[in-house]
C-alpha cells in the first residue's frame, strides 16, 4: 500500500513587502545564533579540584567540584567570578584566584588581570566620580583616564558646577603623572586645558552666558582602598582666558571614588 501526499497551493501569499522583512529577521536571528556559538576558553584543572559555586559571590554554596585533569569552558566573567561549564555540561561559578591555578591547553599557566594592588599600579583604564567646589560653586565631576604608561595617563573630565549666582560646565583634557603608582598612597601632578561654560542665574541684570578656554595645573593623590576601588582627590588651578582685559584664575578641588579596569 502506498501513501500519496498531495499538496494544494495556498491561496494566502505573503505580501511582497513583508518577505524582505522576514528574511532580514531570519538573517539577524541566524547572526545572533552564530554569535552565540562562540569559542570558549578551555582551562585544565591541575590542582586537586576546582570548586564551583552556585552564584558569583563568596557566600554562594559549593555544589560541584571539577577533578584534576578535567577541563572547563569559561563562558563569561562577572567581577571576580567566572562562569564555567564542565565536560559533563554542569555550569557553575569559579573564583578568579582558583582559576589562576589552572592551565591552558598547551600547559602554560592561565593568567588574568586581577583587581589587586598590582592592578592598581598597572592598568589600562580608570574611571571615577567626584564632588567638590569650583570657584565657590558646588562641583559634580566624572573622569576617564587611559594609561599610556604606569606613570603617565591621559585624562578626560566633565564637570558641572552649581553656584548661587551661576551654573556651568567644564570639559577638560590633560595629562597626569603618577609618581609612585605602586604605592598605596600615590601622589600625582596634572596639566591640561579645556573649556568652561558659565550660565548666570536670572538676576536683575541681563544674564549673559559665556564660553571660555581654560588651562589648568593641579596636584592630587590616590589612595588604594581594595579590589578595583580607590579614593582620588585633586586640586586644580584654572586660568580662564576671558574676553576682558585680564584672565581669571579659578580654583577647583574635588574628592571621590574611582576604579580601574
Amino acid at each position: 500500500m502506498e501513501f500519496s501526499i498531495t499538496t494544494t497551493p495556498s491561496t494566502r501569499r505573503w505580501p511582497t513587502k513583508v518577505a524582505p522583512l522576514i528574511a532580514a529577521l531570519l538573517l539577524s536571528l541566524l547572526a545572533a545564533a552564530d554569535a552565540g556559538a562562540r569559542d570558549y576558553l578551555q582551562l585544565f584543572v591541575v590542582q586537586p579540584y576546582l570548586e564551583l559555586h552556585t552564584g558569583p559571590g563568596r557566600g554562594y554554596p559549593v555544589t560541584q567540584v571539577v577533578a584534576r585533569g578535567e577541563s572547563v569552558d569559561v563562558l563569561m566573567r562577572r567581577t571576580e567570578w567566572f562562569k564555567v561549564r564542565t565536560e559533563h555540561g554542569i555550569e557553575g561559578w569559579a573564583y578568579e584566584r582558583d582559576l589562576l591555578r589552572t592551565t591552558l591547553a598547551d600547559g602554560s599557566p592561565f593568567t588574568i588581570n586581577l583587581g589587586d594592588r598590582a592592578g592598581f599600579a598597572t592598568h589600562r583604564w580608570e574611571s571615577g566620580a567626584f564632588g567638590g567646589a569650583y570657584a565657590g560653586a558646588t562641583l559634580i565631576s566624572a573622569y576617564e583616564a587611559l594609561s599610556l604608561t604606569d606613570n603617565l595617563k591621559i585624562e578626560l573630565s566633565a564637570s558641572q558646577f552649581l553656584g548661587n549666582l551661576s551654573n556651568g560646565y567644564l570639559l577638560d583634557i590633560g595629562f597626569s603623572h603618577v609618581f609612585m603608582p605602586n604605592w598605596r598612597f600615590s601622589p600625582f601632578v596634572t596639566l591640561g586645558g579645556g573649556y568652561e561654560r558659565v550660565e548666570p542665574k536670572a538676576t536683575l541684570a541681563e544674564p549673559l552666558s559665556s564660553s571660555n578656554q581654560t588651562a589648568y595645573v593641579g596636584v592630587g593623590a590616590r589612595y588604594y582602598l581594595g579590589r578595583r576601588l580607590f579614593l582620588r582627590g585633586e586640586l586644580r588651578e584654572h586660568e580662564v582666558f576671558t574676553n576682558q582685559n585680564s584672565n581669571e584664575v579659578k580654583n577647583e578641588w574635588k574628592l571621590g571614588f574611582a576604579f580601574f579596569y
Binding site: 563569561m76 566573567r77 574611571s127 552649581l162 579590589r227 578595583r228 571614588f257
Partner: protein
C-alpha cells in the same frame, strides 16, 4: 705475520672507503681543487663518481615543511555592565506624587561594589496653594523635574531567591548613595541621593530591580530656602553586557 697482513688489508679497506665521515673533509678539498688532468679530460665519465656525491649538500632526514599552527586563545566575555530603565512614583516635595521614568547604567566594579549613573524625568503637580487659589507658581516647562545621579552602591546582602522547587535566582539587597543635580522650577540644584534596592537575576543577563531613594536638594521655590526631600520608589529592568 698473519696479524700484520690483517692490519694492512684493513688499512687499505679503510682508505678506500670514501664515504666514511673521517675522509669526507679531504674529499671536499679534493673536489674544490681538482687536478688538471681531470679538468682536461675530454669527456666525463657517464657514471657519477663518489666525489660528485660529496659535492651535493647532505640530504636531511626530516623536511620541516609543516607550518606551526598559531593557537588563538578565545577571549573571556566580561559581563559587568548593566543598562536598563525604570519606572515608578516620585513624591516631589510640595508638588505631589508623580510618575517618574529613567535610564540607568551600572558598572560592577567588584563583587561588592558597583557604580551607577541614572537619569530620570518627572513632572511636578500643583501645590496645595495653587489648587486652592488657582494661581500658577510655575510654568509648564518649569514643572519638568529632571535629574541625574552618580552613585556608588554596595551589595549588602547577596543571596538567592527561590521560586518553587526547581528555580533559584541570584539576588542582592544593596545600599546606594551619590551626588547629582536636579533641574526644577527654573533652577538647577546640587542633589544628594541615597537609598536601597533589591536586584534579582532570572538569568545571567537580565536583572529586575526594586529601588527606593531619596533625592535631597536645597531650594527656595516655595519662598523659604529649605531642604527638599523627594522620595521615589521604582521598579526596573536591566540587561547585562
Amino acid at each position: 705475520m698473519e696479524t700484520r697482513i690483517c692490519i694492512l688489508l684493513l688499512s687499505f679497506v679503510a682508505l678506500s672507503c670514501s664515504g666514511c665521515a673521517i675522509f669526507h673533509r679531504n674529499a671536499q678539498q679534493d673536489t674544490a681543487t681538482p687536478p688538471p688532468s681531470q679538468s682536461q679530460s675530454p669527456s666525463p665519465s657517464p657514471s657519477p663518481s663518489p666525489d660528485s656525491d660529496a659535492n651535493s649538500p647532505p640530504p636531511s632526514v626530516i623536511e620541516p615543511e609543516v607550518e606551526r599552527r598559531t593557537v588563538k586563545v578565545p577571549t573571556i566575555h566580561p559581563s559587568n555592565v548593566e543598562i536598563g530603565a525604570y519606572y515608578g512614583e516620585i513624591s516631589i516635595q510640595d508638588f505631589g506624587a508623580q510618575p517618574v521614568a529613567g535610564l540607568r547604567l551600572d558598572y560592577h566594579i567588584s563583587e561588592d561594589f558597583f557604580g551607577e549613573v541614572t537619569y530620570g524625568r518627572a513632572k511636578g503637580g500643583e501645590t496645595s496653594f495653587e489648587t486652592l487659589s488657582n494661581i500658577q507658581l510655575l510654568s509648564d516647562a518649569e514643572r519638568r523635574f529632571t535629574y541625574y545621579n552618580l552613585s556608588l552602591g554596595y551589595n549588602l546582602l547577596p543571596g538567592e531567591v527561590f521560586v518553587g522547587r526547581n528555580l533559584a535566582m541570584t539576588s542582592a539587597f544593596y545600599m546606594i548613595g551619590g551626588i547629582g543635580s536636579v533641574k526644577f522650577a527654573g533652577d538647577q540644584d546640587f542633589t544628594v541621593n541615597f537609598g536601597a534596592g533589591f536586584r534579582v537575576l532570572p538569568t545571567d543577563w537580565l536583572a529586575l530591580h526594586i529601588d527606593v531613594q531619596d533625592l535631597v536638594f536645597r531650594s527656595d521655590v516655595t519662598g523659604v530656602e529649605e531642604l527638599k526631600n523627594n522620595l521615589q520608589a521604582t521598579i526596573g529592568a536591566t540587561v547585562f553586557f
